[in-house]
């Protein structure tokens, strides 16, 4: 069918034939034209319906629309100096929109010729992305909305781990190339968004439902137009924009996990009436309203009925009485989705709109979950780890996600404007009942433990963006302004422990505790990019320059209360603790009372802000015919300010500058076209990793759940009576040099092979280091230099090679292998040396925390469009990764590889394929999520162990 092999054409992307409700005499043809060499859209291509001689010209997105009477047509696409394409057998039905596959037009130097292809619908999923990938100036990988459907992933977290070198930690957080959270950046529509976890750099991906996402692009090499604070990669979540055709989908999905659902042992607790919508209705409000001038027990004890005593009792009585969960049957997972979108073509102006709503309500039940602490015995000739704390029991989780997206876009002439509004609301309620055995130094006891937690997160994002072309497309201006508000509240985390056998409550086993945590972040991100097309060395080239400005401000506050129970007696029911008769009052002075831990000084509260101004220039040109070079330079000025205090209030920062640095980031990317379908890529770039808000601070944040204290990086640590400085308090950003080399070959129908090698050198990376004088306290510090060396391998191969009958099967695999090394901080090396076992050799280097040694994704997928089937079997695993760095008698702990094997199958029904049904089985191998302590010549011991079980999913979607 192809006349010349230089005219490789790829046909793409779904075209569903949808019935419009509106009565129309004509059908509509829509399509998008790309340039084969660059993967970019072509503007001004003339499109002609040969039979009717009607036509159109592609707009600034390379899109066109033609209305014709129903029938079968041949379309001709022509553009100066490009080969003309004729597309035959384009079927147009009355009142329907026919969306053509994406067409690639190639430049033809010698003679004008015409390529004729048939419009047989090939609905490959990744081909469009692949052409972007092939032609992108930087190394990119990605996943598109069509793949979400195929794999059946419901949220961005489970979808994105299909991408080469990407892994997801804890079902939420993305790691690129195994590099930890610190070195991965997530952006939304190309601009910064605040995270939803105060301790994280990246945003949790599981809150993005796939039906609001157009695609996720992972850039692994840096170009000057990207933010400089990434090392492993930038993950760009692109929300839906202009719909190609009318969309009106309603979907329902469900999941049944035999080990979790309809289980009468499931644990939940009484929450608010709006928990099912993903937010708290006020049931969990702090009874003080957040005030810090509340009376304390000391003010109360001598005069219970005085004004302060009355107020004390009012507050005390205002705490919700529920402290323990109850067992009872739960339902299965349920999901609902709705999306609506269309284009409205008016004279001169095209309007597009998109509305998507998602609701998910899922429960998980973990039976026999374990959270343990093991330590090394003090004798240097004893190797086996000893249990210090063993927490074992059951807990239930109810997770509700409500998401909505509404956007309009408008195209007029050479301008496009887009306004998007998105809100995500997520509420997670947990209840656990555990047996706790403590054999740690100084305390031996067994206890019954009850935990209740609720976390609500929300993100509201507005995107206003414009694309403009000037001077017949020689200049392009793209701009974006995107404000975001994100809120995370953990209202009323409740903890209680009864020491067995007498059900006593005291300091040794831990007093009852309740915690409120508030985080609010505002973020305004903006950027503008100007692109000039021009000739350099008589070849098409581009100069791109622009600027960005991001302002972020975050308020963080933890208010915690402990509840000494005085002489109150209990029978072990946690819901008795706050019984009115137990509360302190006249006649029961030694009863249950609150002690606020945040008065008068609260080192667990801060506010912080960042101003980041960036500017760049980048040129893309071909110094040789087969060599494309992208050379750029980015400048960023980054100013971070902090307001907060240390624990005893002796150091107070009031919007003081803690970081003000201007850096230049050079980038070089070379793409050498070995053959038409083979590239060799080389890139050398400089990037940066900066300390977070709370790291550059004097904060002292106690995590009451783990008992670990976070110490801000500005504190110093000395030893030997102050003689030896272990940490000087000067926390600096890490500069990183990145080198990438990649060979890639693209074959027809989306098949490809690539091999990459990368090397990164870190200048004094930041790691979380424990205080040698207080092993429970951790601090971010610059440690010795680090390196990461990695290899990546990827292929997508049709099994039609083996036998033609297997043509519908393809095998996709990607593998990443890395080796990392950092030089330890001095205190870590001292601590490890002191705790060394006989015969154990302590080196002053180790792997980087959070760096996976390998990631493997492989799967067989099946597609039969004629019969409407698609699906596959997918396997994913990440090698054992250093999680917490050990200290003193506690050892390093590592993730245990989780062998994830999932199966999914989808079937389209009906003449117009209006009904799609899907079925899947997740975690077929019934793997457990585990972390273990490892120690020299000792058996591994469990740190955490959770059994997610095997889940069966189904989904049905209707298109109208």
């Amino acid at each position: 069918m192809f006349k010349k092999r230089t005219l490789t054409l790829a046909l793409i992307v779904l075209s569903q034939f949808l019935v419009a409700f509106a009565i129309a005499q004509n059908g509509t043809i829509r399509g998008t034209i790309f340039e084969e060499a660059t993967g970019e859209t072509l503007i001004g291509v003339s499109v002609l319906v040969k039979e009717t001689s009607t036509g159109a010209v592609t707009d600034l997105d390379g899109k066109f629309e033609i209305k014709v009477a129903p029938g079968t047509y041949t379309l001709q696409f022509s553009y100066i100096s490009y080969s003309t394409i004729e597309l035959t057998e384009v079927v147009v039905k009355d009142g329907e929109v026919t969306v053509l596959p994406d067409l690639l037009m190639a430049e033809e130097a010698s003679e004008l010729e015409t390529v004729v292809i048939s419009s047989t619908v090939i609905r490959t999923t990744e081909a469009a992305l692949m052409s972007v990938k092939r032609n992108a100036p930087q190394l990119v990988d990605g996943i598109s909305s069509s793949t979400f459907k195929q794999i059946g992933d419901g949220d961005a977290a489970s979808a994105v781990k299909r991408v080469t070198g990407v892994s997801i930690e804890g079902g939420k957080y993305i790691y690129v190339r195994g590099l930890g959270d610190r070195y991965t950046k997530t952006v939304l529509n190309g601009v910064d968004i605040p995270g939803l976890d105060p301790d994280r750099n990246t945003i949790q991906m599981d809150i993005f439902p796939t039906n609001v996402i157009d695609n996720i692009i992972v850039s692994k090499s840096f170009t000057a137009d990207l933010p400089a604070d990434f090392t492993g990669g930038v993950v760009d979540i692109e929300t839906k924009d202009f719909p190609e055709e009318k969309i009106f989908n309603v979907g329902i999905s469900g999941g049944l996990n035999p080990s979790m659902h309809f289980n009468s042992d499931y644990i939940s607790y009484e929450g608010g009436s709006t928990d099912w919508l993903g937010f708290d209705d006020g049931t969990r409000d702090i009874p003080t309203g957040g005030r810090t001038d509340i009376p304390q027990y000391v003010d109360f004890v001598s005069n219970p009925n005085g004004p302060q005593g009355q107020e004390y009792q009012n507050i005390l009585g205002g705490f919700n009485k529920t402290m323990g969960g109850m067992r009872g049957s739960n339902l299965m997972d349920l999901g609902l989705s709705f999306s609506l979108g269309n284009q409205l073509v008016r004279p001169n102006t095209t309007w597009g709109y998109n509305v998507a709503l998602t609701y998910k309500n899922e429960t998980e039940y973990y039976k026999d979950a374990q959270f343990n602490l093991f330590g090394k015995p003090s004798e240097t000739n004893q190797f086996e780890l000893e249990p210090l704390e063993r927490q074992r029991g059951d807990y239930g989780v109810n997770n509700v996600l409500l998401g909505g997206l509404a956007g309009i876009a408008m195209k007029k002439g050479y301008s496009k404007l887009r306004l998007n509004f998105m809100h995500l609301q997520n509420g997670e309620s947990k209840a656990g009942i555990f047996n706790f055995v403590n054999t740690n130094l100084g305390a031996n006891f067994e206890a019954a433990q009850y935990n209740l937690e609720y976390s609500e997160r929300s993100m509201t994002n507005i995107l206003l963006a414009g694309d403009h072309l000037f001077d017949n497309g020689a200049w392009a201006l793209n701009w974006k302004v995107s404000p975001t508000r994100s809120v995370i509240n953990d209202p009323d985390i409740r903890f209680s422990r009864f020491r067995l056998p007498n059900n006593t409550v005291g300091t040794e086993a831990g007093l009852p505790e309740r915690i409120w945590r508030f985080l609010e972040e505002y973020n305004v991100s903006s950027r503008a990019d100007l692109t000039r097309e021009l000739k350099i060395l008589q070849r098409d080239s581009k100069v791109k320059f622009g600027g960005s400005y991001t302002y972020k401000t975050r308020d963080f506050d933890i208010q915690n209360f402990q509840f000494p129970t005085g002489s109150t007696r209990f029978d072990g029911d946690p819901n008795d603790i706050f019984n009115d008769e137990n509360l302190v009052q006249q006649g029961n002075i030694n009863g249950v009372r609150y002690n606020p831990g945040f008065i008068p000084n609260n080192p667990n509260a801060f506010s912080s802000n960042v101003n980041n101004i960036g500017a760049y220039i980048s040129t893309e040109f071909n110094p040789l015919e087969k060599l494309k070079a992208v050379v750029g330079l980015r400048m960023e000025n980054y100013v971070q300010r902090y307001t907060g205090t240390n624990q005893n209030g002796t150091i107070v920062l009031d919007n003081d500058e803690v970081l003000n640095e201007t850096d230049f980031f050079p980038t070089l990317n070379l793409i050498f076209a070995l053959k038409d379908n083979q590239n060799l890529r080389l890139s050398a770039t400089r990037t940066i990793a900066r300390p977070s808000f709370k790291e550059l601070s004097y904060a002292e944040i106690l995590d009451p759940i783990t008992g670990r204290t976070f110490i801000g990086g500005l504190f110093t640590e000395t030893t030997n009576g102050g003689q030896d400085v272990l940490w000087d308090g000067n926390l600096t950003p890490t500069r990183i040099n990145n080198f990438d080399l990649r060979w890639e070959a693209f074959q027809e129908r989306g098949q490809m092979v690539s091999v990459s090698a990368f090397y990164k050198s870190f200048d004094r990376p930041i790691e979380i280091v424990q205080f040698i004088s207080d092993p429970g306290s951790f601090q971010p510090r610059n440690v010795g230099n680090g390196t990461v060396l990695g290899l990546e391998f990827e292929f997508r191969q049709s099994l039609g090679l083996i036998a033609p009958s297997l043509e519908n099967f393809s095998w996709n695999t990607n593998v990443t292998i890395t080796e990392s090394q950092i030089k330890m901080s001095e205190s870590e090396f001292i601590s490890r040396s002191l705790a060394a076992k006989e015969g154990e050799n302590i080196k002053d280097t180790r792997e980087m925390a959070g760096q996976a040694p390998y990631i493997i994704n492989t799967g067989i997928s099946y597609m039969n469009f004629a019969k409407g089937w698609d699906g596959g079997l997918f396997y994913n695993v990440q090698g054992p990764t250093l999680n917490f760095v050990g200290f003193r008698n506690q050892t390093d702990n590592f993730t245990v590889p989780f062998h994830s094997l999932n199966f999914n199958m989808n079937k389209s029904f009906g003449a117009d394929e209006r009904i799609k049904a899907g079925f899947g089985v997740q975690n077929i191998l019934n793997s457990k999520r585990e972390l273990v302590f490892k120690s020299f010549q000792a058996q591994d011991q469990i740190f955490t162990s959770l059994a997610p079980g095997t889940e069966i999913n189904f989904r049905v979607a209707f298109s109208f």
Partner: protein, 506 residues
């Protein structure tokens, strides 16, 4: 008493505005004085002014006489026609709570006079003194006064805090890391020496106790956790995990380096701590991270600690973390966790001690072994331990506990054989060795017992071996009247436990 303010007054007469007298015989002109306010108020020991008295006499000034309560304070010669004199006065101790009358009499050359009177109200002497910052130079807290700790106050290295008999120190409200506490850092000195009838008392801000009292007028002895406690930290050896030589004491965040203890000076001297009662403290930061009534971290044997009492502490009564200090005559009443707790190879001796358990008390004795490779044990000798009858354990020796325990009498403990509602043995009220290492130490003589006595509970049939477990019963006996135990008479007259009659059945 020394450091009291000496009165000072400064006056510099500035003769200004010289005017020549002509031979004209002017009529006799008057004299004026201005600038002295009629009244002012200052605090005890406070300072007035400087205020500026301006005298004017066209005929020429002669002198200014200042009197205080009728007695001449100063005489200032003046010249010229106008002169200004600054006046400053710092109240003397005897001025406290009084009105002091000053007169300023200015006289000109021909004898004319003008008088200004100033009444200075001096506040009553401060007897409640707020302490809100660390002590970095030598300070004395005086008899008859109350000192309020406005947070965690450290006596920093090089400084000495002297506390006189009868002083009451109160911790302000605040819990968790905000708990008020007195920390005697390494290389700082505490000289807190009370008297047998005039102890030094550490208590809560809520306590209405006044100097001279021993029993709180408003707080019961089981109220705890109202403030932190007293921590004395030194440079003596501790057996620490990972064999580090110094570490952070529990209850103090590591960013505060005044919380470090440990070293290699076993003769270290942190000062003297005698006739001191510590009450209602023990604020808790987190599990395993709390403040004891009296915390002794790495305290050296040069330090003298005797006649100490801890009442109603939310965590342990007295806890030793390593060190070599010896303690004599200690009483712990109503501990919220363990009464006496030892860790990290404390290598000293506790002689003559009493424990009176409360309803929340866990172990009377919680004895832990070394955490690092440095091995040492301690000695407990001549003690009397009273259980609360329901919940308390006699003692637990764990994690390689070592040392010598000699002449201790236990009574009023529950029987380990008592049954709960499910008819299972509750198992409280025993004396046990936990872990292989403690049992090995007992077998090889690193953990020694002698003359352990008890009066067995009679509610349920109980054998000596059921109380004294792991073979320790060979050193124990069931007695009606003990041969061993503490001499409780030393606690009379200064301890709340004794004054409350709690020692009457010892």
């Amino acid at each position: 008493m020394k450091k009291l303010l000496y009165h000072t007054f400064i006056f510099a007469a500035l003769a200004i505005g010289f005017t020549s007298c002509n031979d004209d015989e002017d009529p006799d002109n008057g004299v004026t004085i201005t600038g002295i306010p009629p009244t002012a108020s200052i605090e005890a020991g406070g300072t007035l002014g400087p205020v500026t008295a301006t005298a004017t006499a066209p005929d020429g000034l002669a002198q200014l006489v200042i009197t205080k309560d009728g007695a001449t304070l100063a005489t200032v010669p003046l010249t010229g026609t106008t002169a200004s004199t600054p006046f400053e006065y710092t109240a003397l101790p005897e001025d406290a709570g009084k009105n002091v009358v000053f007169t300023f009499t200015v006289t000109d050359v021909d004898g004319d006079q003008a008088v200004a009177t100033h009444v200075l109200t001096v506040g009553a002497e401060e007897t409640v003194i707020s302490v809100s910052s660390n002590i970095t130079s030598d300070v004395t807290w005086e008899t008859g006064k109350v000192y309020i700790l406005q947070g965690r106050i450290s006596v920093e290295a090089g400084a000495t805090l002297t506390i006189q008999p009868g002083v009451i120190v109160k911790g302000s409200a605040g819990s968790g890391a905000n708990a008020s506490a007195l920390v005697v850092a390494r290389d700082a000195t505490i000289n807190a020496v009370g008297e047998a009838n005039n102890p030094i008392i550490f208590t809560s801000f809520a306590d209405q106790i006044q100097p001279g009292q021993i029993v709180s007028p408003n707080l019961t002895p089981d109220i705890n956790g109202l403030w932190g406690g007293v921590l004395i930290l030194g440079n003596a050896t501790c057996s620490l995990g990972g064999d580090v030589t110094e570490t952070q004491i529990e209850g103090i965040p590591p960013s505060d380096t005044n919380g470090l203890y440990g070293g290699n000076d076993d003769d270290d001297n942190s000062g003297m701590f005698k006739y001191v009662s510590i009450r209602h403290g023990g604020a808790n930061i987190g599990e395993g991270n709390e403040i004891n009534g009296l915390t002794l971290g790495g305290v050296g044997r040069g330090t003298e600690i005797e006649f100490v009492e801890v009442v109603g502490n939310q965590d342990d009564g007295i806890e030793w973390f390593g060190g070599t200090v010896n303690v004599t005559n200690a009483v712990v009443w109503n501990a919220g966790d363990d009464a006496l707790d030892t860790d990290q190879a404390w290598a000293g001796t506790l002689t003559n001690f009493v424990v009176v358990a409360g309803s929340e008390t866990d172990h009377a004795l919680e004895i832990d072994g070394p955490e690092g490779s440095y091995l040492a044990g301690h000695t407990l000798r001549n003690g009397s331990v009273k259980g609360d009858g329901a919940n308390t354990e006699l003692g637990d020796f764990r994690d390689g506990a070592r040392g010598s325990f000699d002449g201790i009498y236990f009574f009023n403990f529950p029987s380990p054989n008592e049954l709960d509602d499910d008819m299972e043995k509750i198992g409280r009220g025993d004396f046990s060795l936990s872990g292989d290492e403690s049992n090995e130490n007992f077998a090889n003589g690193d953990l020694m017992f002698a003359l352990l006595e008890t009066t067995l509970p009679t509610s349920v049939a109980t054998t000596l071996a059921e109380v004294f477990k792991n073979g320790t019963d060979v050193h124990a006996s069931d007695v009606a009247t003990p041969l061993s135990g503490a001499d409780v008479s030393v606690f009379a007259g200064w301890s709340w436990t004794s004054e409350a009659g709690e020692l009457s059945d010892f």
